[in-house]
Symmetry: C2
Subunit: 291 residues, 2 copies
C-alpha cells in the first residue's frame, strides 16, 4: 500500500495517447500530452519513468488503459455499484508511490460492461458538483459510456461503440469515400439523428446513404454528417433506453459534447456540457484524498 | 442495338471477382472464375477481350458492377418496379455483340436503394419457378438485398450492409482480435440472432461481446459466431420489416443461404434455399431470350 499527501502527478493513459498533470491544492498544470498510448509502449517501466522525470519526487496516480491486460499491469475491475471510496481502496500500488486506479465492471443478467478511465471523470464531475450524483450521465467517445449514478456511486452503465464504428466504416467499407468528407453539426447531421431516434434500421440506412448519392438524391459532401448523426442518434436512443432523464450531463472534449448535446436536444432532453479534463483532475484529486 | 441468338457467354462481373459461363440451350459450362473484379481492372477493353478469347465468336452478356461508374461503362439503373422485359430492353450494347445488363434502383420518399447483379438472380429464380414471383426474396451477402417481387417484377427492395459491416469490424475495431476466430452456425450464432431479433441495441451489444470475454463471462472462441448472429439477426429483422412472408426464398452460395435460413427459422419463417449460380444462369438466359 502507498498513499498520497499534498501534490501528485495525475496521468490519463489511454489506448492511443497519454496526458499528465501536476496537481497541487486542486490546481493542475499540464506536464505532458503525447501519442504514447499503451499500444505504442513496450517498456512500461521506462515510459513511466519518463513521466516521473517531469515532476521529480512526486507520487504518480494513473488511470485508464494502463491498468488493462495490454497495459503495464492488469488491475482488477471494481464491480458496480462502485463508490469513490471503493475505487480508492482498490488502487494498485505498483511501487510505493506509483498507483493505478482500477476500472469499473458491470454485469447483470445478459448485460456486461467495462470501463477504464471514464470512472474518474464521472466521480470527478460528481465531486465538482457539476453533475447530479443521482441520474444519467453521458461520456461520449470511441466507446460512449452512459452511466447511472446513485448516491455518488456508479450504479450501472452501458457502452455504445459509436466512434469505433464510425472509424471502422471510414477505414474500409462501401462508405469509405463518402466518410472522407468533414462531418459538421449541420442539417444533415440533425436529419441523421432524427432518423436514428425514430427507426432501428441502422445497418440498412447506412447503405441508403450511398444509394442516395449515386441516384443524385443527396450530395456527397453531406454524407459524413448524416452518418455521424445516424450513429450518434442511435447512441442516444440506446443510452437513454428506459431511463427517465430530462437533463443529461455530458462529459468530454467540447467539440464532442456539443455534438451529443445537439442530438440529445432532438430527443427532447436538455444536455449540460462539462469539460472532461476538469472532471478528470477533480476525480483524481478526490481519489488521492480518499487514499 | 445488338441481340443474342443461340449460345452466348454470361459474365457475372463484381467488385472483387468475375465469373463467366458459356451458355447453350440452357446448359452452362464454366469458362472463368478469378479475382479480377472491377477494382482490379484498369484496362476494361483488354479484360473483356480476355473473357471473349475463352469462347471466340460468341456474344457476351455481362451483369454486375461492370456497369457501374467504377466499371467499364456506367449503365443507368432501371427504376423499380422493374420487369425482365424492361431490363432486357435497357441492356447497353457497348459493341454490337457485347451487352451490359443494367442494375435496378428504388426510390420512394425517404427510401433509396440500388442493386447491380442481384436483379439477374432474382429474375432468374423467378424464371426457374424456384421462387414465387410474388413475395419477399432474400439475397444475402456483403450488401444483403430483400426484394419484394410482384407479378414477376422487382417491385421494391432494401439493402442491409451486413457482410460489409462484419468485415469493417473485423478489419479495425475493438473486436478485431475476437473476429479473427471462425464463426460457425452454432449455439452462439443463434443466441446472437435471438438477441438481434428482440432488441435494437446493436452498437451497444457489439461492445458487450468484448466485455463478456474480458470479464470471463463468455469464451473468446464464440465471439465471432455471436457477432455474425447479431448482424444477420439485425439483417433479418430489418428485411422482414412489416412485410408478411411465412416462406422466404434465399438465393446465394449454400454456406451463406444456410446461415440466413437458420436465422429466418429463429424469426419463425421457413426459408427455401436456392443456388445463386443456377439463378444467375437462368436469369441471363431469360434476359438473352427477351432481347
Amino acid at each position: 500500500m502507498g498513499g498520497i499527501a499534498g501534490s501528485f502527478v495525475a496521468v490519463d493513459w489511454g489506448t492511443t495517447n497519454r496526458r499528465a498533470w501536476r496537481v497541487a491544492d486542486g490546481h493542475a498544470t499540464s506536464l505532458l500530452s503525447d501519442d504514447r498510448g499503451i499500444l505504442a509502449v513496450t517498456d512500461f517501466a521506462a515510459a513511466v519513468a519518463d513521466v516521473q522525470a517531469r515532476a521529480p519526487g512526486l507520487p504518480l496516480l494513473m488511470a485508464g488503459m494502463i491498468g488493462s491486460n495490454r497495459g503495464w499491469r492488469e488491475v482488477p475491475y471494481v464491480p458496480a455499484p462502485a463508490t469513490l471510496t471503493e475505487i480508492a481502496a482498490a488502487v494498485d500500488w505498483v511501487e510505493p508511490e506509483i498507483g493505478i486506479v482500477p476500472g469499473v465492471s458491470f454485469a447483470d443478467g445478459a448485460l456486461a460492461d467495462i470501463m477504464r478511465g471514464e470512472e474518474v471523470q464521472l466521480l470527478g464531475a460528481c465531486a465538482l458538483a457539476a453533475v447530479e450524483c443521482d441520474g444519467l450521465v453521458c461520456h461520449p467517445g470511441t466507446h460512449t459510456k452512459w452511466a447511472e449514478m446513485e448516491g455518488g456511486a456508479i450504479a450501472r452503465f452501458r457502452t455504445v461503440m459509436t466512434g469505433d464504428l464510425f472509424a471502422a466504416l471510414q477505414h474500409k467499407s462501401i462508405l469509405t469515400d463518402l466518410l472522407a468528407h468533414a462531418a459538421p453539426v449541420d442539417a444533415a447531421f440533425l436529419a441523421g439523428v432524427d432518423h436514428a431516434l425514430a427507426n432501428s434500421d441502422l445497418t440498412a440506412e447506412l447503405f441508403a446513404v450511398r444509394a442516395r448519392v449515386v441516384l443524385g438524391l443527396a450530395e456527397a459532401r453531406h454524407a459524413a454528417s448524416y452518418v455521424s448523426g445516424l450513429l450518434i442518434g442511435t447512441d442516444v436512443r440506446t443510452g437513454l433506453g428506459r431511463v427517465r432523464a430530462d437533463v443529461v450531463p455530458v462529459l468530454g472534449a467540447p467539440a464532442l459534447t456539443a455534438r451529443f448535446a445537439a442530438a440529445l436536444a432532438r430527443a427532447g432532453r436538455h444536455a449540460t456540457e462539462h469539460d472532461g479534463d476538469a472532471a478528470f483532475i477533480a476525480g483524481m484529486t478526490a481519489i488521492a484524498g480518499a487514499l
